[in-house]
C-alpha cells in the first residue's frame, strides 16, 4: 500500500474523528454537575496526535480550541511519553503549559493502539471555582498568579486501576464546592474514556498506519486550504491596535494591544511586539491564548470552512515579546486575559485589515464576556452557590447587514442562564431582561443592540465580582460607522443610593440591592448619511 490514503477513506476517517470529539463534549455536558458546564456549555473537546498536533475538535469555544494542541505539546515536555500508560487521565491547568487561565482545567488521556501511543483526547472544562482569594476564582485586583487559585501541574488523577484518591482529595480540599467539582472531574474523565473507546475502534478498523497517514493528509489538506485562504488577502504590511479599558489592579489607564501583520505568498506573520508591557492585574494573556485568537481571526476572515487542525498553523508565524501583555512573566495573573484580551487581539487584527478587506469583517462587537459572578449562600438549600453569568451584546454591523442584538462575538460562545433557572437556584430575582434599544452604533448598517438585565438580591449576603471590558473604550465602527454604546453596570442600593461600578471590581451586596447591567452595542458599518429612513 502506498503512503497516500484514498481521499474517500480520509474523509471517512475525518468524520469518525470529528464525531469522537463532538461526542466528548456531549458526555461532559450531560453528566457534569456545575451549571456553567451543563447550562452554559463552557467546555471544549479535542483530539491530538501523539506529538500534540490538533486532529479534530468539537463545535465548542474558539478561545479553548485554539490552545489544546499546545496543552498536549507542553504536557509532553513535562511528562515524557514513556511515563504514559493506557487508562491514564492527567489533569492540569498551568497557564505556562499550553494554558489560558486557571479555571479552565484540562483532562488529557493518552490513547494507545497496537501497543503504541497514537493520540491524545483532551477535555477542557471551566470549573466554576478553582480556589484562590475569592469565590469563583476571579480576583479583579489580583497582583500575582497565586491569588487566582490552585495551580495544577500535570497530575495523574486516574489510572487504569481507577482514581488516585489522595490526589483527588488534595484538589477537592483546595476548591470551593467540592461535590460539584468532583462531578466535573468525573465528567471530564468519562468524556476522555468515551474518546478512548471510539478511537480504539477506529484504529482497529483501519489499522494504525492508515489512520496516521490519513491524519497527516488531513493536516496537509488544512495547510493547503489555509495557504489558499491567505492568498486571498492582498500581500503587504498592516498595523492595527485596540485598547483594553484597564487591568483592574494597575493605574486605571487603557492598555494597548498592537499587531503588525505581514501577509506574504500563502503565509502570514503576526507580530505583537509593540503591545504594552505585562499588566499588574489579571488581563495578561498567554502566548497560547494569543495564538488561539490569531487562528480564530484568520479563519473567520479568510477560511471559515477550513477543517481546524494543526495544519492550519503551519503557514502562520506568531511573535509575542517576552515580558509583554501577551507573553507575561509566570507570576502574573491571567484570569481575564483569556476572554477579554483575546477578544482585543481579534479586534486589533480586524482594525489592521480594515483598509484592505473591510467587506469580510464585522465592525467592533461586544467583545467582552460581560461577566458577573454572584456568590453566596442560598438560604433555601443552605448551599454555597456561585452564579457565573456572561452577557452578550450587540454584534458589529457588516457591509451587507445590520449587527444582531445580544450575542456573543468571536472568541466565546457561552450561553446565558435562563432567568427561571437562576431564580430557582440562587437568591436572585431577575426583574428585567430586555434589549438595550438604540445602543448599536449608527451607520449605513447599524450595529446590534446590547441587552439590559436587572438582578435583585433576595438573600441576605451576596458577593459580586465583575470582569467586564468596553466600559470606556467603545466597540469600534467600520468604514465610517459610529461606535456602539459602552458597557455599563449600575448598583442601586436598597437604601436608594446609586453608583456606577467599574468594569473590574468586587463588591458586597445586601438584600434588596439591584444590579442593572447594560451591555455594549455593536459598531456601525459605513456612514449613516445614505441610510434610507
Amino acid at each position: 500500500m502506498n503512503s497516500k490514503v484514498n481521499p474517500f477513506t480520509v474523509e471517512v476517517i475525518r468524520n469518525a474523528l470529528t464525531a469522537i470529539a463532538e461526542e466528548m463534549s456531549l458526555v461532559v455536558m450531560r453528566s457534569a454537575r456545575s451549571p456553567l458546564l451543563r447550562e452554559a456549555g463552557d467546555l471544549s473537546s479535542a483530539l491530538t496526535d501523539a506529538a500534540g498536533n490538533l486532529i479534530a475538535q468539537g463545535r465548542d469555544i474558539p478561545a479553548h480550541l485554539g490552545i489544546m494542541g499546545y496543552t498536549v505539546q507542553e504536557f509532553l515536555h513535562r511528562v515524557p511519553a514513556e511515563r504514559l500508560s493506557p487508562g491514564d487521565v492527567w489533569f492540569l491547568n498551568l497557564p505556562e503549559l499550553g494554558g489560558n487561565h486557571l479555571p479552565d482545567v484540562k483532562a488529557v488521556r493518552p490513547v494507545f493502539a497496537e501497543g503504541v501511543l497514537q493520540a491524545f483526547a483532551v477535555s477542557l472544562a471551566h470549573w466554576a471555582d478553582i480556589g484562590g482569594a475569592q469565590p469563583g476564582s476571579y480576583v479583579p485586583h489580583a497582583r500575582d498568579a497565586w491569588q487566582e487559585g490552585l495551580r495544577i501541574p500535570p497530575l495523574r488523577l486516574f489510572t487504569a486501576a481507577g482514581p488516585d484518591r489522595e490526589k483527588l482529595d488534595l484538589i477537592l480540599a483546595n476548591v470551593r464546592g467540592a461535590l460539584e467539582r468532583e462531578g466535573d472531574i468525573l465528567a471530564q474523565m468519562a468524556s476522555t474514556r468515551s474518546a478512548d473507546e471510539r478511537l480504539a475502534e477506529v484504529f482497529k478498523r483501519y489499522g494504525a498506519a492508515t489512520v496516521q497517514a490519513a491524519i497527516m493528509d488531513l493536516h496537509d489538506q488544512s495547510e493547503s486550504e489555509m495557504r489558499t485562504a491567505l492568498r486571498s488577502l492582498p500581500q503587504g504590511l498592516y498595523t492595527g491596535e485596540d485598547w483594553l479599558d484597564d487591568d483592574g489592579a494597575g493605574d486605571g489607564e487603557p492598555i494597548a494591544v498592537r499587531v503588525g501583520i505581514e501577509i506574504g505568498d500563502g503565509e502570514a506573520t503576526f507580530d505583537f511586539s509593540l503591545t504594552a508591557d505585562a499588566a499588574r492585574g489579571p488581563l495578561n494573556a498567554t502566548p497560547f491564548t494569543t495564538a488561539a485568537s490569531v487562528f480564530y481571526a484568520v479563519k473567520a476572515i479568510a477560511g471559515p470552512d477550513i477543517q481546524p487542525n494543526a495544519g492550519c498553523a503551519r503557514p502562520l508565524k506568531i511573535i509575542t515579546r517576552p515580558g509583554s501583555l501577551l507573553n507575561p512573566p509566570l507570576d502574573r495573573p491571567v484570569v481575564g486575559g483569556n476572554h477579554e484580551t483575546s477578544q482585543r487581539i481579534v479586534d486589533a487584527i480586524f482594525r489592521a485589515l480594515e483598509p484592505v478587506v473591510a467587506k469580510r469583517l464585522t465592525a467592533g462587537g461586544s467583545t467582552t464576556s460581560g461577566l458577573l459572578l454572584f456568590s453566596g449562600h442560598d438560604p433555601r438549600s443552605g448551599r454555597w452557590t456561585t452564579l457565573y453569568e456572561v452577557h452578550g451584546g450587540g454584534e458589529g454591523a457588516r457591509h451587507d447587514r445590520d449587527g444582531m442584538p445580544a450575542v456573543r462575538p468571536h472568541m466565546s460562545n457561552v450561553m446565558n442562564t435562563p432567568a427561571e433557572v437562576i431564580e430557582a437556584n440562587y437568591p436572585i430575582l431577575i426583574e428585567r431582561q430586555a434589549l438595550r434599544r438604540g445602543s448599536g452604533g449608527a451607520g449605513r448598517h447599524r450595529g446590534g443592540d446590547g441587552q439590559v438585565r436587572v438582578y435583585r438580591v433576595v438573600g441576605p449576603e451576596v458577593a459580586l465580582t465583575t470582569m467586564v471590558e468596553r466600559c470606556r473604550i467603545p466597540p469600534f465602527g467600520l468604514c465610517g460607522g459610529a461606535p456602539g454604546e459602552t458597557f455599563c453596570i449600575t448598583l442601586e442600593r436598597a437604601s436608594g443610593k446609586t453608583l456606577k461600578l467599574p468594569g473590574k471590581t468586587s463588591v458586597q451586596l445586601e438584600q434588596g440591592d439591584r444590579i442593572v447591567l447594560e451591555s455594549s452595542g455593536g459598531g456601525g458599518f459605513g456612514t449613516a448619511t445614505a441610510q434610507p429612513a
Binding site: 484514498n6 480520509v10 468524520n15 450531560r30 454537575r33 462531578g183 447587514r401 431582561q433
Partner: protein, 672 residues
C-alpha cells in the same frame, strides 16, 4: 363492504403512503402516490383510489402529516402576538445569546425572533420560583392587555409568563379572557410546564402560529371524511390523537411522519423480541435515526425544529441532511458528501432532469446496486450513463476510476450517517453493537448493511411494508397522550404524598381525553417515567416505575442507569426533576402487522448483474425479487433484493433470509 377498512396514511413532502386492512377478511393493500401538497384531502383521495377503496368504505383513518413541519420549515406561519411578563418581552429575541456558526461572519448569528417587537406585549404580574405571587395580575390589567392584543388584529396569541409552571393562575385567567377576544390562544404552562423562558416561549409561539392553519386543514378533512369515519392524527410522541386534541396542540404534529415510522419499527422490534434496536430511515434528502428499547421508540422533551427549540415530548429522532440526493463535491483537496441535496428537482444526475453533480443515488447506480431497468414511482427512469458521467468528473479530479469514486461516495455517505447514529446511541446510553438495525425509507435498505458494519452491528432487518412504513405505524397506532411536569424533589426532602397527588392530577387530565373518546377509565394503560439527576446535573436519566413512586427503588434504578450511561455513580443525594406520564387506550380492533404471505404466482425473474463492492473488479451479483423469497431460501451475498420501492444490498459475506411474516433478515457478517 361498507366501512370495513381501517387505513393508515402518511402524507410526506413527495409521496403519500397508504396501507389499508379489511376488518372482515384481513385483506391488506398498500400503495404510494404523489403528494399534492396544496390539497391533503386530494392526496388521501388518490391514495384511496390507488388501493381501490372509497371514502365511504373507511371506518378508521389514522393520518400522519408533514403539514405542520413544512409550515415551520417554509415559514408559512400565522402572525402571532406574544404576551410576556413585564420586563420580558424581548426574551424571544435575546434567546440564549450564543451564535450558530463559530467562524462565519457572513451568516447572521441567530435566527430572527418568531414574533417581531411590535407584536410582543407585556403584562404587569409576577410569580416567583416558589409559586408565590409577587405582583398580582389585576382584572384591569387583563382588560388592558386583551384590548391591546385585539388591536393587533392577529388570529393567534401566545402567552408566556415567568415561572407560570409553579403557579398557573395568572396564565389561566389571562387565557380565559383572551379566548373571548382572539380566535386562537396558546398558554405556555400547558405546552411546557418547565423552566427556561426562551425555550418555552418559542414552543408556545410555534403552537399558536400553527393553530389557524391546522384547524382549517382538519375541518376540511373531517368534512370530506364524513362523520362515520373515525379520524385520528399521528402525534410526535408516538401514538394517535383526536382531532380536537390536535387542534388545541398542533405542534404535536411536528414529527408526525417520522414518529409513525419509528413506531412501526418499534412494533417490529416487539414482535421479533428485540430488546435494543435502531430505526434507520433514509430518504431522498434526510436520514432519521432513533433508538428503540423494548419495542418503545425513545422520546425526548428537549429538541429542535428548523433550528428553533421545541419543548414537548417527541420521539428522539436524530435527523441529518444525508440521503439519496446528497451531492458529492470537492472542497479544496478533500471530498464532501452533503448536506446539499439535489432534492426532487433537478434530482440526482441519473434522473435526467438536468442535475450534473454526482449524488449518492448516482453512486449507487454506478456501483450496480440500483436497477436502471425499473421505474421509480412509475415515472422516473434512471439513466446509468448520466450517473457515470457525473461521477467521472469527480473521479478525474482525484485521478481515480468512476467506480472507485462511486464507492468512495457510498462510504462517505455512510460515515455521515454513522455520525448521526452514534449520537442517538450515545444520548440513550446504548451500545450500538448490541442493537438490531431496522432499515426503511427509500434508500435505507441500500445502505443498511454497510452502515451496520461501521458499528459492528450484526443483525439488520428490512421489515415487510418498509416502503410504506410510516403509514403502517399510523395503522397500528394506539390512542395515547403524554405529558410531563417539573417536580424538583430532592431525595433528602422526599414528599411522597405531594408526588402522588401530582401524578393523580396528570392521570386525570390525560384520562379525560381518552374517556371522552369512549374508552373506559379502567382499561387505560399508564407508563410512568421519573426523570432523575444528581443535584446540579443538567440532563436527567429516565427511570420507569410503577406508582406510587418509591424513593429507594427509584434511587436504585437511577444509579443502575447512570452507571450505564456515564460510567460512574456516587452516594450523593439526587433529585426527581420531572414526572412523565403516557396514557394509552388499548387498540380496539387490535391490528397486528398482517402475516398473510403472498404466494409467488410465478417463478421470479431473478437475474445476475455486475456490482462493485471493492475497487478491484465488479462481482457477478444475483438479483432477486423480494416477493419470491421464502423462509427456506437463504441468500448469500453478494446479492441485490428488490421490491417495487426499494433495493436491498446484501454485500459479500452477508446472508439474507425472509421470516414467515415477510420481514427480511440480514446477517451482516464480518467486515472484509
Amino acid at each position: 363492504m361498507n366501512r370495513s377498512w381501517k387505513v393508515g396514511i402518511d402524507i410526506g413532502g413527495t409521496f403519500t403512503d397508504v396501507i389499508a386492512i379489511n376488518a372482515v377478511d384481513g385483506a391488506v393493500r398498500t400503495a404510494k402516490v404523489q403528494s399534492r401538497s396544496s390539497d391533503p384531502a386530494a392526496s388521501i383521495g388518490s391514495a384511496y383510489q390507488a388501493v381501490g377503496i372509497d371514502w365511504a368504505d373507511v371506518s378508521d383513518l389514522i393520518h400522519g402529516t408533514t403539514m405542520a413541519t413544512n409550515a415551520i420549515v417554509e415559514d408559512r406561519l400565522a402572525p402571532v402576538a406574544l404576551i410576556a411578563t413585564e420586563g420580558f418581552r424581548d426574551t424571544l429575541e435575546i434567546g440564549r445569546q450564543n451564535r450558530r456558526e463559530l467562524y462565519r461572519l457572513d451568516v447572521a448569528p441567530k435566527l430572527p425572533p418568531l414574533v417581531p417587537a411590535e407584536r410582543r406585549l407585556e403584562v404587569t404580574e409576577r410569580i416567583d420560583a416558589e409559586g408565590r405571587v409577587l405582583t398580582p395580575l389585576t382584572d384591569a390589567e387583563i382588560e388592558r392587555v386583551t384590548k391591546a392584543t385585539e388591536k393587533l388584529g392577529v388570529p393567534a396569541v401566545a402567552v408566556t409568563l415567568q415561572q407560570c409552571f409553579t403557579n398557573t393562575e395568572h396564565e389561566t385567567r389571562l387565557g380565559q379572557r383572551l379566548e373571548a377576544a382572539v380566535p386562537y390562544v396558546a398558554l405556555s404552562h400547558r405546552m411546557s410546564p418547565e423552566p427556561r423562558e426562551f425555550e418555552r416561549s418559542n414552543t408556545t409561539v410555534l403552537n399558536a402560529a400553527l393553530m389557524p392553519l391546522t384547524a382549517s386543514y382538519l375541518d376540511k378533512l373531517e368534512k370530506t371524511a364524513g362523520s362515520s369515519t373515525n379520524l385520528h392524527l399521528y402525534h410526535s410522541a408516538g401514538g394517535m390523537a383526536s382531532v380536537e386534541a390536535v387542534k388545541d396542540r398542533p405542534l404535536a404534529l411536528a414529527l408526525s411522519g417520522p414518529a409513525a415510522g419509528v413506531a412501526a419499527a418499534g412494533r417490529i422490534a416487539e414482535e421479533l423480541g428485540l430488546a435494543q434496536a435502531i430505526g434507520f430511515d433514509m430518504g431522498g434528502t434526510t436520514t432519521d435515526t432513533c433508538v428503540i428499547l423494548d419495542g418503545k421508540a425513545q422520546v425526548d422533551g428537549n429538541q429542535r425544529l428548523a433550528e428553533r427549540p421545541v419543548r414537548q415530548l417527541m420521539v428522539a429522532v436524530e435527523s441529518i441532511g444525508a440521503g439519496g440526493g446528497s451531492i458529492a463535491r470537492i472542497q479544496g483537496r478533500a471530498i464532501r458528501v452533503g448536506p446539499d441535496s439535489a432534492g426532487a428537482d433537478p434530482g440526482p444526475a441519473c434522473y435526467g432532469h438536468g442535475g450534473e453533480q454526482p449524488t449518492v443515488s448516482d453512486a449507487n447506480l454506478v456501483l450496480g446496486y440500483l436497477n436502471s431497468g425499473y421505474l421509480l414511482g412509475k415515472t422516473i427512469r434512471l439513466d446509468p450513463q448520466l450517473a457515470l458521467a457525473a461521477t467521472k468528473k469527480l473521479a478525474d479530479a482525484f485521478g481515480v476510476s468512476a467506480q472507485e469514486a462511486a464507492l468512495g461516495i457510498y462510504q462517505v455517505a455512510n460515515a455521515n450517517m454513522a455520525r448521526a447514529l452514534r449520537r442517538v446511541a450515545v444520548e440513550r446510553g446504548v451500545d450500538a453493537r448490541a442493537c438490531t438495525l431496522i432499515a426503511f425509507g427509500g434508500a435505507g435498505p441500500m445502505h443498511a448493511v454497510a452502515l451496520a458494519r461501521e458499528f459492528g452491528i450484526t443483525h439488520v432487518v428490512v421489515p415487510k411494508f418498509s416502503s410504506v412504513f410510516s403509514a403502517l405505524g399510523c395503522l397500528t397506532a394506539e390512542l395515547s397522550y403524554a405529558e410531563q411536569h417539573a417536580v424538583h424533589m430532592s431525595s433528602t426532602a422526599w414528599q411522597a404524598d405531594e408526588l402522588e397527588n401530582l401524578r393523580r392530577e396528570m392521570h386525570q387530565r390525560l384520562a379525560l381525553l381518552l374517556t371522552a373518546a369512549g374508552h373506559a377509565g379502567d382499561s387505560l394503560l399508564a407508563q410512568h417515567i421519573a426523570l432523575i439527576r444528581y443535584a446540579g446535573q443538567s440532563d436527567t436519566v429516565e427511570v420507569p416505575f410503577i406508582p406510587p413512586a418509591n424513593r429507594d427503588s427509584l434511587g436504585a434504578g437511577f444509579k443502575t442507569r447512570h452507571e450505564r450511561l456515564y460510567g460512574f455513580v456516587t452516594d450523593e443525594p439526587w433529585e426527581l426533576e420531572t414526572l412523565r406520564l403516557t396514557l394509552s387506550a388499548p387498540a380496539g380492533n387490535d391490528i397486528k402487522i398482517p402475516t398473510a404471505r403472498a404466494v409467488p404466482t410465478s417463478t421470479p425473474n431473478d437475474d445476475s448483474i455486475a456490482c462493485w463492492f471493492d475497487t478491484n473488479s465488479p462481482i457477478p451479483t444475483a438479483r432477486h425479487d423480494r416477493a419470491g423469497l421464502t423462509t427456506e431460501k437463504k441468500i448469500e451475498g453478494p446479492a441485490i433484493i428488490e421490491d417495487q420501492w426499494s433495493t436491498i444490498v446484501v454485500p459479500p459475506g452477508a446472508r439474507a433470509w425472509s421470516d414467515t411474516t415477510g420481514h427480511l433478515h440480514i446477517d451482516a457478517g464480518t467486515f472484509t
